[in-house]
Amino acid sequence: MGTFIQLVVDGLSTGSIYAALALAIVLVNQATGLINFAQGGMAVLSSYIAYVFVQLGLPLIVAIFVAVVLSFLIGALVERLLVRRFERGDPDTAVVVTIGLLTLVTGICAVLWGYNNLGFPSLFPLTSVQILGAVVSVRALATTVTIVVIMVVLQVLFLRTKLGLALRAVADNPGSAAFSGLPVGRLLMVGWGLAATLGAIAGVLVAPQLTLTPGMLDTALVYALAAVILGGLSSPIGCVVAASAIGVLENLVAVYVPFIGHDLKIAVPFVLIFVILIVRPQGLFGRKVVVRV
């Protein structure tokens, strides 16, 4: 029983990493209707920026704040200078553009900082506490709490604020949003900026645990994408729940189903997706999209 609880707790803590990235993907999708494969790469870049400012002698919290602000600008610039050209075009092309962006950003990180693992200081102490017989590190706990807070803020932003309404309107139908007097271009920039900010927060939260490398979030991105599809592209809560479920399930399966083990556990979320999507094509929490001719 002790092992079981430990596995669940560990699963929840890895799940929160996937959740943070998944939230950023949902944010871009809500604001622009695109899936951004470069989300993980941009988050890694933000973490490196924070790292540089820490090296320059800034206190960690200030460095993170500077990195978050710069990330907003980078996200907005990427939208304005690069992605905008592809937003109305072929969706295949837009997907490939974000893949190109991922390659480029990862490459830039590798050129500037190399492939060596860099230690990143943690905001939270490394001590651990006992809960129900399981060892829980304060860091994992604080990370999870931060993610949950962000999720709630996002949900409020999208459903209860004018900005959220405007972002949703632009994503849903840029044409009629423009007719209603919304500054579509600026809102798209804000959407990308916010997503980059969120990615930056996710990056600095997990960097101490994973250590900083250009490919730090590659695996997490795959899980985050799985969580996004499973939870539904339109639901921040859904993707956080799905991310936690994936984290817990893969941990349990790796230990309790010997055939799968640690090498095949990445298959678990996808088999789950396969089964769930056949029953509910819109995702667990997603809304069904009705297309009219």
């Binding site: 690069l82 295949d92 298959a267």
Partner: protein
Amino acid sequence: MGTVSSALRTRPARIALTAVVAIALIVAPLVLPAFANQTLVRIGVYAVAVLGLNIVMGYTGQVNLGQIFFVGLGAYVTAYGVNHGWSIIVVFAAACVSAGIVGLLVALAAARLGGLAIAMVTIALPIVGVPLAKRLSEFTGGSQGISARFSDAPEWSGLYNDQWQFYIVLVVTAAAFLLARSLVRGKYGRAFAVVRENEAVAASMGVSPYRTKVLAFTIASIFGGASGFLYLAAVQYTSPETLSFGHSISLVAAMVIGGAGSIAGSLLGGAYYVFVPQLTNAIDPNFTAVSQGAILLAVLFLLPGGLVSLPRVIRRLSRRRTARPRSGNPPQTAPAQHPVPDAAREGHENTERQDRS
């Protein structure tokens, strides 16, 4: 420029051009150095995989991020068959059929889903495929990989191995391109196009979107399997690395860079897949990822319709330049010839037209 391209549209000119290209392809391996032959062979290998991807993504509009899985499957089946002494025709058929069957099974589930959900189900294929290939070491040789030699030149031909491989790949690639060309121009091609544009319209016209998508996926998988066979003919070795996720993404990039919804674009995509890593390694190995990403974005930024739209973009630019001083009112002449101002769609449309003429 204009006169050259219009002369090329006449039938005798096209037949002559085809004959010249065919003869050039048959003579080329005999005179080219081995390295050039190997490069051309690899272009052929990946062109077939990109062609399959183009049928499902470019023509039918279903995002498929798992094409490399079928290439890997084809390669493993080929290696297994060769090492167990099957006839080479049987091996080729087995590579295509097994990829087709797995593709069909995946498609039966995936085609029920809309848009990005399909992308996610297909993304799973290479991600699950790599650890699975390592696990099933009895058939795949585990992470060591497996090698199989069947494409060495026979004694009687008097050819070098690279020349013999060139002919194997040339025959299969040419057959694949001819098949794909007649497929997308015929009844199924129209079904693909209408499903791509609007599934509800397709259904109302009596075209089942579900069946059409399953068909496109299955055909793409078969092309993937054939590409896997060719891969083993060219490389004679395969390992889990062959079907890694990164390669799958590169194939999608190659398809879009070459030109989505274009048969000729698939060949350009294959060339892009082979040449760009060579080029970026030659520039500076440290900057490989940066330059690959930059090249990809630059190509798409300048040519959203892919490389295949380059001649048309040049023609349009040169026409605009010559038209401006004469008529003094270019905005009126230009839109008359190009009703769709969107560059990406225009490239696509013209591609289709050129393929059909």
